[in-house]
């Protein structure tokens, strides 16, 4: 299974990942549209990104969520009805919603952010 592994202890809070992600997938630089989120914790930065656990798969009423050939959990937008139960039940709160976006979105382990992360806190891993 492919996933983006996050090493928060290496993160320096530059937010390049968030801007690159939103630019890639939503064509604009906007942290609210990023599928990876960096926030400030008590002792450093905290990276929140989907770990492909798949709990959301069982919450979806239209079977819009499933794993692709590499095990990455993907939403089929043609089936998604925007009920947001996946976002509500995600154990790590890694399914995101945004104003003016009808449907939720999540990391699909494309790896683009990992390529530009200066301290290499993001690593595309294969189990």
């Amino acid at each position: 299974m492919k996933r983006l592994a996050a090493y928060s202890e290496r993160c320096v809070g530059c937010e390049s990942c968030m801007l690159t992600c939103s630019k890639t997938w939503f064509k604009e630089e906007d942290k609210e549209l990023s599928r990876i989120r960096v926030t400030q914790g008590d002792s450093g930065y905290v990276i929140n990104v989907c770990n492909q656990c798949g709990v959301c798969i069982d919450t979806c009423p239209t079977l819009a969520i499933g794993r692709d050939a590499q095990g990455v959990v993907r939403i089929d937008e043609s089936k998604c009805v925007g009920c947001l139960m996946c976002a509500g039940f995600c154990p790590t709160e890694s399914m995101f919603t945004a104003d003016n976006k009808e449907k939720p979105f999540k990391c699909i382990a494309c790896g683009i952010c990992s390529k530009i992360c200066p301290p290499e806190a993001l690593v595309l891993e294969q189990d």
Binding site: D58, T59, C60, P61, T62, L63, K79, C80, V81, G82, C83, L84, M85, A87, G88, F89, T97, D99, N100, E102, K103
Partner: protein
Amino acid sequence: MDKMRLLARWEYKPVNIYRGYAGRTLYVNISNFSFEERPVSEDMKEKFIGGRGFGLKLLWDAVKDTTKWNDPENEIVISGGPLCGITQYPGSGKCYTVFISPLTEQTYDSNAGGYFGPLLKFSGWDALEIQGKADRDIVVFIDGDNNRVEIYESPFEEVNAVTVTEALHEYFAEDEEDKRNISVVSTGKGAENSYWGCLNMSFYDLRRKTPRLKQAGRGGGGTVFRDKKLAAIVVKKRGIGPSSNNPADLTTLQRVGLKLHKEIRDLDDQQNKMRKVGTPHLNEIMNEYHLLPVHNYKFGQHKDASKIHSKVFERIFTQGIPDGCWYGCSMACAKAADKFELKTGPLKGRKVTVDGPEYETCAGLGSNIGVFDPEWIIEANFYADHYGLDTISLGTGIAFVCECYELGFLNKEITNGLELKFGAKDDIMELIHRMGRGDDEFARIVGLGIHRMKKIFAEKYGAPSDVLENIGMEGQGLEVSEYVPKESVAQWGGYFLTLKGPQHDEAWLIFMDRVNKQLPTFEDKAEALHYFPNFRLWFSLVGLCKLPWNDIEPADNAIKYKGIEAAKVPEHVQNYVDLFNAVTGKKITKEELIIQSERVYNFQRVFQLRLGRGTRKDHNIPLRAIGPVFPDEWEARSDYYDNELKAAGIDPENLSTEEKIKKLQNYRLSQWEQLVDAVYRRRGWNKNGIPTIETLRRLGIDYPEVVEVVKRHLKPEDEWES
């Protein structure tokens, strides 16, 4: 299934849904296969909102004062409401079906989940009105993808819900995945052979690969359906999504919906376990509080209640499936038993998915008839759905029959061989099958309902009328639902001072009244019987399910708010205000929400009056509903009842049990009359339970035809002294 024979087709222009409304309703006359598009005015939206409100308004215009339930003029009107079909908030797929009821002979409105309400609206219609009677069984198909309505000759030899629904999902779907774009309204032979006909409304379960059935259970809507020779109504609409209602403010819908999903995620397991168990979480609770109806409401507790404890059903229900009956319902209480092998009846041996049982069925087709066998209850539930029988009326009705049998008013000769004692599982199941087949005279009589059974048992079998009146748990012609009301004066009102009969759509006040002791005076009870029916019935106008309102509450609800305020779950009330405004673009407040509902409440009250009911004498209450009738009921809780007598200022010493019963009844009957006065007064009605002209004016429903009905019945002696 072979290709169905097309009898009529009507094409319509598509519309865009705007702020929750299609802006028009669909009228279909099945006597002459004519169709009409009827516009929805701003006034109609303002005064009637949608859902049950639209249903009542359309029915009012369609019928005469003298229309009976089986006249062609009677209608089946189905409507969701402006919030129906949003995908973000739990419980958003409900619709109401409005009709003149065979049981109560006045309007009835019954709600169901499933996909029918949303798919109907998104096909372009705020309501579906069916009037007339066909000359043969028909299937009405609303094709929202191709913007047309078709009427087919029904191909079904036998109209029973499970087989009809399965066949029609198969027939109209292009493939497996497409089945979720279809919903079927169906009923069964039990609805042809009784007045207890329910309507099933389907949704397709993609994981189980089977249609699921939710019920518009009460009032005999299924009986009207079959009387009109409707075999099924089907709707199909593809492409529903998050903005199908074209809401004014999608962001608020998302914010509020996401908040509720997380609340349910975090708290359901500690609160009511709806996701695991559904409404049967109440089984053991009602038993503990003496509220579980046992043996026709004689008792509120039974030693075998542990056999139908919710943990038994938790094991039976398949866990881990998103069991919402519309998209976005994370309350997910539509539980099912899978691969359940039927042991009796026409589908014996088949392994089926059974929807439920709900609490009401566990109690009605369980404790109330003395059966504590969960598998039996599930099988009875299945056949009730399949035959199109309301499990509540069926349960309470059979409980009445069993008590009559045990009292010796009925015997095997009368019942055609069935020994219908409490707990007689096999014979009771056979009675249900006979109701489904329609081949047994006694089963037909049972299916006419308690109100008519009382007359027939007296006339035909010589049963004593007064006893039957005391133990027959019905009000206004409708069987009581499955909570023991005897020990709560407020719940006497909650059941018996209702618009349509003793159901718990309107009010459920037992805890508030007797356990929390929050309603000490008649005025307190009357205030609760004003607020809660109005609040609870608001859901019927907009297309929402009320369970996510209070079957889950925010973690700080009972900390931030005290007493009755906490019981209102203020944060959730605010959610509903926000949802309404976010979809419609309006700016209502919590107070206006109540007025919206009060308006339709009073319109319906006048409608009942128009049809010859709706006055004080129609608010009847059987003695079993206000206390013990026979000595064994008193003796089961003798300390408690002796204390009740003392609290009433009556000394139980030296009185026989019969004397004590009589004295408590007299006392409680006088309490009942005081309650009725207080409630009528609070509701803005006169002593006879008729809304005053002032009330109609205040609510903006003083239309000439409404005022005209009321004026005919107003008498000066019914006015309150100032």
